[in-house]
Symmetry: C2
Subunit: 437 residues, 2 copies
């Protein structure tokens, strides 16, 4: 039976976790308010394909309102959370205040520059649509600048790309860059040889993708080398500026002249996490994630859940779950079920993550995957990656569009979405140049 | 026979005219340098569909380099022209200087606010990809702001859209807005009724689309009314600010409270036109177009051609040709032929425009078209419009993508590309609001 005033669930963030929680509450006797800064759900795993000119932003983004159009118990509010009052149970947005009975915080993460926020200007990360079009602009502008540059050293620095971080995103970006310089661009320039471009992938650990098991990281490193990517493992970044990076490998330091540095190294919890922690007395871990119990709720505040990239489930001593979509989605489903159970005075078991397996793509016909004890590499892993990502795309329309563009890209090597757009459409003078000279 | 140093043709602008001239010189014994500020050719006639969330930017933009990839005698330079030295035959870019034997100026047009450049901030026009995503942001942000607004008068101003200019672009924008409020959004908001939104189309002449013949403008006005657009013909805009416009109809003045004003009223020649006119002694017409002879060349400078929206062909007294793609493309072909003829010491007849007919779309199943003595309206005209625009899209890939998205939009009324992106992702506080209060 629906009470006269339904239980009010406010969900902060329309990413994988928040959206899943919203949809899972569809038939519950609650009113759901989904709050997001953006008017769309973003399919982040394919963001690197926007950054490298294969897909358009709208192909991997779906308006939140159209997703909950037919869900009568849900509404969307476009807004940014600025605070929470845990005692009065209110979430404060910039322009209004929302009362909740249950709050689900699914605000995700942001780039982490390990205390070097000044690097952000020279080494953009990849979290938002704007990040992706900014990176796209930087990548394709670098070739334009190289084509026009007479000085061979400067030209070489425009043709040097440094990707920091050997996780899935860094590997995907480096692999895509390698395909761009070898297959997409070679016949399009008249003065430069794009195949002479250098692509460096910097990773602090001994191998890239080192959360993968057994021989998979080694396989990935070999595949990257085969694509022409120079992998620098066991290497730290010690400095970034407008015209280069400083790398440290043990006691050795090396300066690499480059105009394009992409950041795929660190992620930390969204800044609202600290505000919520302060308001509730919750602990934050070193990466800015909110520490919650096995039920995803904040200790002493069973009515506040944290899910997804912002959550550190099971206490500070528990190993944090990986920041991937399946974790967030399973937590969204779990919390929705728990809310229903509470309304029906039932109890529920703790949250436990069922790992569906992991995969990372490196390039055409090159991916790695592990599912339980299974290990997959090469074309089969790549096809599995394509299929799973295509199926996971929220909207049918997007699925067909993405498939069509992937097919076209596969056949032609072209990257038709490589528009240089945004605030700095001109490659000349490059922003970096202006600062230096 | 190819001379040792081929005749150097520099083409400024990769729009319809410049691209056509480049491609038409493919087999000529010349070297072609195509200069553009952007790295893509933009299919401007469909830009309004990006602004209203049906298509993505990359669907109507194609990288110039991929278009001339196989044209060995052509190269692309990304750069902005800042001057010309007609005596030394050099075109000056921000960062380099290009020598030419023949210069083709195809730099197009820009918005014209009739001396009120300050209106630009409140009434953006639609010429570039950035314009389109800015307008898209404004349109969809207005509904978000209305959904949150408590004050009924302010809410109504967020739900009032004013389109200035009853040419094809203004009519297309107004028609698309009407479909958005009636069909795309209604079930997506919980507090506002989007069908209560007002859409005003302001036109100074007695009727919209008044370059069309016979009963076509009247038909268009009736179709707009049927869609729910309020057409204010014979009406001038006398003021625009952040929260409204002032309209003048004869002696009557009326203030309309609105947060969204779109400019589709005036076009003038690109600013490089004035620089080139000054350097060559060419005359400019009142709309900033360069006056050229019947052969598209500047008087006294047979080696400098001006084509497309920036050209006023046949002298100041001749009626300027319409600023449409067929004119620019035919001039591009003509000039390419004339360059070949000169190299072969042949003469050629003057340029003459063969009008393929005109069409404008209003909304679903609603368009008008005239071809010679033929007049077409309604579904047939609309299907013809769809077909012709689809065929005209430069790349095969784009054609299929656009067709797919049109089909999906047709079936669902959804506008999946309506992302609120860019520098001001948050609708709250709206930029306008901040200025005023």
């Amino acid at each position: 039976m629906t009470p006269t005033v339904p239980h009010r669930v406010v969900i902060l963030g329309g990413g994988f976790g928040g959206l899943q929680a919203t949809l899972a509450l569809r038939t519950a006797a609650v009113s759901v308010t989904l709050v997001d800064r953006r008017n769309f759900h973003l399919f982040q795993p394919l963001l690197y394909q926007v950054a490298t000119g294969v897909l358009s932003p709208a192909n991997i983004a779906t308006p939140l309102r159209s997703l909950i159009k037919h869900q009568a118990n849900a509404q969307v509010i476009l807004g940014e959370a600025v605070g929470v009052n845990a005692k009065e149970r209110t979430l404060h947005l910039a322009e209004e205040t929302l009362s909740y009975d249950t709050l689900i915080v699914a605000a995700g993460g942001r780039h982490h520059y390990f205390g070097h926020q000044e690097w952000a200007a020279h080494a953009p990360g990849l979290k938002t649509i704007e990040d992706a079009t900014d990176i796209r602009r930087r990548i394709f502008t670098a070739f334009e600048a190289a084509e026009r540059e007479e000085d061979p050293l400067k030209r070489a620095s425009f043709l040097t790309f440094v990707v920091v971080g050997g996780g899935p995103t860094g590997v995907e970006l480096a692999g895509a860059l390698a395909e761009i310089v070898r297959h997409t661009l070679p016949r399009e320039f008249r003065r430069i040889d794009t195949t002479s471009a250098r692509i460096l992938l910097i990773e602090a650990s001994a191998q890239v993708l080192d959360v993968f098991a057994d021989e998979l990281p080694r396989h990935a490193m070999a595949a990257l080398a085969g694509l022409g990517v120079t992998v620098r493992s066991g290497t730290m970044l010690s400095h970034v500026d407008a015209d280069g990076v400083l790398l440290r490998h043990g006691d050795l330091e090396e300066r690499i002249a480059t105009r394009t540095v992409l950041w795929a190294a660190g992620v930390q919890g969204a800044s609202i996490g600290a505000i919520i922690a302060a308001a509730t007395g919750a602990a934050l871990d070193r990466a800015g994630r909110i520490v919650v119990g096995q039920d995803c709720a904040i200790a002493g505040h069973p009515e506040i859940f944290v899910i997804g990239d912002l959550a550190h489930v099971g206490g500070l001593d528990a190993k944090p779950l990986p920041g991937v979509a399946p974790v967030a989605m399973q937590q969204g489903t779990y919390v929705a079920k728990l809310i229903r159970a509470r309304l029906e005075h039932r109890t529920m078991a703790h949250f436990s993550y069922r790992d569906p397996g992991s995969m990372a793509t490196i390039g055409r016909h090159q991916a790695i995957a592990q599912v339980g004890r299974w290990r997959l590499t090469g074309t089969l892993a790549w096809l599995a990656w394509l299929f799973i990502h295509l199926m996971a795309l929220v909207r049918f329309e997007n699925r067909v569009l993405v498939l069509l563009q992937w097919t076209w890209h596969y056949l032609s090597w072209n990257r038709n979405a490589r528009l240089i757009t945004g605030n700095a459409p001109m490659p000349s003078p490059p922003a970096a140049e202006r600062v230096i000279s």
